[in-house]
């Protein structure tokens, strides 16, 4: 083939590929099965060997065998790691294996295209500003691979420069399209990764929230329309658990059924009364439940308002989700309780925890009035020597007895469980609620951040007059946990920072650095709000701001103007709009002199040569000889004599000087002429 020689991959391209391969695969490490990771490592090492000239290319049968083997293994483990992860791993393996057996430029192009796709896949999970910058850099390097195919003889730096330049020149148009292109709803159902990223689960047993408490990951952010409430009021309800089997609390099947059906008919009516409005941006939780305070109501189309006052996303929260909520603090949740629901919230295992039962019955005996009884129970937790700890001692089969009478130490789930158990024992319907408590206030950007370690569990007891009423026994043990927030109560190093040595939350102890952390967090907030959460609503808002009333004519003109501007800007930046500028400058200078002289009475016919013209001018103004002579010399040299680069530069410099002098001389001519 005639192209054969040109199709060989240059050494520079290989180097670029080596870099980009590593950079593309690194952020995907948590998606890879150990198998694929191993194969990727082998491929990389082998390529490194080929690059340094120590190893030969692998024979084709070996690559084929590896490909078949890994495809089979993947097929076997797909059921465990999920469809999406399986596909991602397949793509990663294809990328690595194609990379190792690459032979000509076509292969390089294929590798580059798959590289872009893998970058896109990385974006599914990692969407922070930092990752976006990093991945944009990787995409640029990936582009440099293509550039290097055409600039192989040049230095690495010039290839990098061109690649970066291309990307930078492409950014404005991409940005513009990003803003104006309408966002479509998902076209079909897609497989997604199924690993939960929240610690909350639909069942709670002793020790569950503990794991969660140690995570510094962001759970969601809230922006209040008006004043934000006190920390002690920030109870973010996520799940309500009504079934208790003596070991764990679970959601009842009836509410799960409503969730599964997810039909709008199940939606409750908006409650009456004063309310608090706010906007929540949740991090992807891979779950359906959403967060709201008290009796929450949201009118968003894809959010279900469940009968237990909670919010539920119709589609799973796989990416950041933004929704508006109103909380009706004074509204009564369930004025009447259906008999089956009442029975459910009174049900207890027949046996077990005899000491706790006895204690509860004692309370009933002492306080026949329910409210007084509950208050007494709360006081009991406050006055008895109970401790709040994230590392409670082990409990035996009689969980609550061991906790209440032996260990006397535990965290929210322990206290909430015990409280709900005792309330049920005394004939009061009670249930466990899990969610988050508190939040960190970012003053600069004006929003509240709720982290995973703020997860909490408390109890709701149904009372005939006030419906479901919140009781948080943990607040009795560690009041500062609720009033001032989690951080005031715990030394962060001992709890949630224990497992994240690099968390920026560590910076809190240094005021200056903490400010920096908070402003970085606000950047991240705006990033989530304006980039990740950019939707049709925001788009029309921006367009309205730019154009006023958006009409199709206005929009079309706007688009055309922007597109033309961008096109011209790129054309200008690549040097298309000023071809023979230097030449023009020289001629323009000469023409200017001609015009000036014409005003003085010596005009130049179009067919007169510059030197003839010069002679004629001298006949009229002999005084110009001194200044005009060097100018004309330079002009003729530039126009008609072959010059070396350096020579041309020198003459051009001289030309500029003499032009200036000639202009001044001609201007002065006027004065001298007027004088006599």
């Amino acid at each position: 083939m005639s192209h054969a020689q040109g199709e060989i991959i240059g050494r520079q391209s290989l180097l670029w590929l080596l870099v980009v391969n590593t950079l593309v695969l690194l952020p995907l490490y948590d998606k890879m099965t150990p198998w694929s990771m191993g194969i990727c490592a082998i491929c990389l090492l082998w390529r490194l060997g080929i690059f340094s000239g120590k190893v030969a290319k692998p024979p084709r049968y070996l690559v084929t065998a590896l490909a078949v083997a890994s495809a089979i293994t993947l097929a076997l483990v797909t059921s465990q790691i999920g469809m999406l992860n399986g596909l991602i791993n397949l793509l990663i393996l294809g990328y690595a294996l194609k990379y190792i057996e690459m032979r000509d430029r076509r292969d390089v192009r294929a590798v580059v295209l798959v590289g872009y796709f893998l970058i896109a896949i990385t974006f599914i999970e990692k969407q922070s500003l930092w990752f976006t910058i990093q991945l944009t850099l990787v995409a640029t390097i990936n582009t440099c691979v293509l550039v290097s195919l055409y600039r192989n003889s040049d230095s690495l730096r010039s290839t990098a420069r061109l690649g970066t330049q291309l990307m930078l020149q492409s950014l404005p148009l991409a940005l513009f399209l990003f803003v104006v292109l309408p966002r479509l709803p998902p076209l079909w159902l897609v497989p997604s990764a199924n690993n939960a990223t929240t610690g909350l689960s639909d069942e709670v047993s002793f020790g569950d929230i503990d794991q969660l408490t140690r995570s510094t990951a962001l759970a969601f952010r809230v922006t209040f329309d008006a004043e934000q409430p006190n920390n002690a009021e920030l109870y973010w309800r996520a799940l309500v658990m009504e079934n208790y089997d003596g070991k764990r609390w679970t959601q009842d099947e009836s509410i799960k059924k409503i969730e599964r059906a997810a039909n709008a008919a199940a939606n409750r009516k908006p409650p009456q009364g004063p309310f608090l409005s706010y906007e929540v941006i949740t991090e992807p939780s891979r779950q359906h439940w959403l967060y709201g305070m008290d009796l929450a109501y949201s009118s968003e189309a894809d959010i279900l308002n469940l009968p237990d006052g909670r919010l539920y996303a119709v589609s799973r929260v796989d990416k950041k989700l933004e929704y508006r909520v109103s909380s009706f603090k004074e509204a009564i949740l369930d004025r009447r309780l259906a008999p089956n629901v009442k029975a459910l919230n009174l049900a207890l295992p027949e046996k077990g925890n005899p000491k706790t039962r006895a204690l509860a019955l004692q309370f009933k005996k002492d306080h026949p009035e329910p409210k007084a009884r509950l208050t007494a129970m709360m006081r009991y937790f406050n006055e008895s020597p109970y401790f709040y700890t994230l590392r409670p001692p082990q409990v035996g089969p009689q969980q609550l007895d061991d906790f209440l009478f032996e260990n006397k130490a535990g965290f929210c789930v322990h206290y909430a469980s015990a409280f709900a158990f005792m309330a049920r024992t005394t004939g009061l319907p009670a249930r466990l609620v899990t969610g988050y408590q508190g939040g960190e206030w970012n003053r600069t950007a004006g929003y509240l951040s709720v982290y995973q370690y703020m997860a909490h569990a408390w109890v709701e007891v149904w009372l005939p007059q006030s419906g479901w009423t919140r009781y948080d026994p943990t607040a009795m043990i560690a009041p500062s946990r609720i009033d001032d927030g989690f951080d005031a109560f715990f030394n962060p190093q001992q709890s949630y920072l224990l497992e994240s040595p690099f968390s920026t939350l560590r910076l809190r102890q240094y005021p200056l650095l903490n400010n920096l952390r908070l402003s970085l967090a606000s950047i991240d907030y705006y990033w989530s709000k304006w980039v990740l959460g950019f939707d049709n609503e925001r788009q029309s808002m921006i367009l309205k701001k730019l154009l006023g009333d958006v009409t199709s004519t206005k929009l079309a003109i706007f688009m055309l103007v922007i597109l033309a501007t961008i096109g011209l800007a790129i054309a200008y930046s690549v040097g298309l709009l000023h071809f023979s500028r230097q030449q023009d400058k020289v001629v323009a200078g000469f023409e200017q002199i001609c015009i000036m002289l014409a005003k003085k009475g010596v005009s130049r016919p179009i067919n007169e040569s510059p030197s003839d013209y010069y002679k004629r001018v001298l006949q009229h103004y002999p005084g110009l000889r001194e200044t005009l002579n060097p100018y004309i010399d330079c002009y003729i040299t530039l126009k008609y004599k072959p010059l070396s680069d350096a020579g041309r530069k020198r003459v051009l410099n001289r030309y500029r000087q003499t032009l200036h002098q000639a202009r001044i001389a001609i201007l002065r001519l006027n004065k001298t002429k007027i004088a006599p």
């Binding site: 005639s2 040109g6 600039r151 950014l171 076209l187 796989d318």
Partner: protein
Amino acid sequence: MDLNQTTDTVYQRWWKGWLSRRLPPQNRVTLAHKSIFILPTGFGLIWLLLVVLLFLFGTNYQNNLVIALSLLLLSLFNTCIIYSYRNLAGMTLEAKTGPHVYAGQTVLYPVYLSANQVQYQVTLSYGDNETQTVANVTDKAVQTLVPFASQRRGWTHPGRLKVESRYPLGLCRAWSNVDLDNAQIVFATPIASVTQLHQHLQDGTTEQPLRGRSTQGVEEFKGLKPYVFGESLHQIAWKQLAQGRGMLTKEFEQPLSAPTWLTFNDKHPDLELQLSELTWSVDQLSEQEQAFGLVLPNQTYMPATGQHHRLASLKAIATIDRISTKGNLG
């Protein structure tokens, strides 16, 4: 008498006509928007497919960053269109006369490339012939030899020169088809034919090896050469000395015998074979520095020697029209 265009389809003919109207043949061409065409390459189409795929992917996962990436790639494609235009625009191509070749050999057409701005990885090719790549085109004109496999003798036009560039990412193919008006005569393929040469020789009587040769002598003026000290004063060119051209000596030579005549035979059954043999004979005689004359249907070359004579004879042989030999046009 274009021998190359025989099997064109209607479309090709229309395309060629359109091109020749838009880009008329010129010896020196500077490429501009009128002469540059840009279309996506196969890779470019796959790239666009990836853009669509990523957009769908981003839409389905409702992931703005993936959508942004797809838009960035789309925008990159757009930028590449401008770059690929830039990579040809302003390029000046100038054709020079190439070396002489025989039919069947490859003609290397010299083309001089220059551009105000540096342009990269430009390929030049004639039709299906081998492609020539120029790594950098700068403001200094650089000669590139573009190969063209000649097949027939006579005036050979290589057709339109395809100037192509896929720089910078290989997404777009910018190209131009320029006619540099550089037709040139390709000589007939020489075929050795001792018999033919002998036929021509047999009519004479002198010794064969000396036939048509000449030696230094006094009879015929051959030319002037610089004077060497000691040469006879009789032979000094006084007239030229008076003109101020320096001391020169007149050289004379003496033909050893009557020159050879190569004659075109009307009755020869195979025209091409005869022309090939004539070509061979001309080369053979020229190599031996024998004077020869050439008689062709339309013209006659008087006996002479030298490179100039050889080339004139070869060109005349190469351009003999097939039709006239049949006697139709006489």
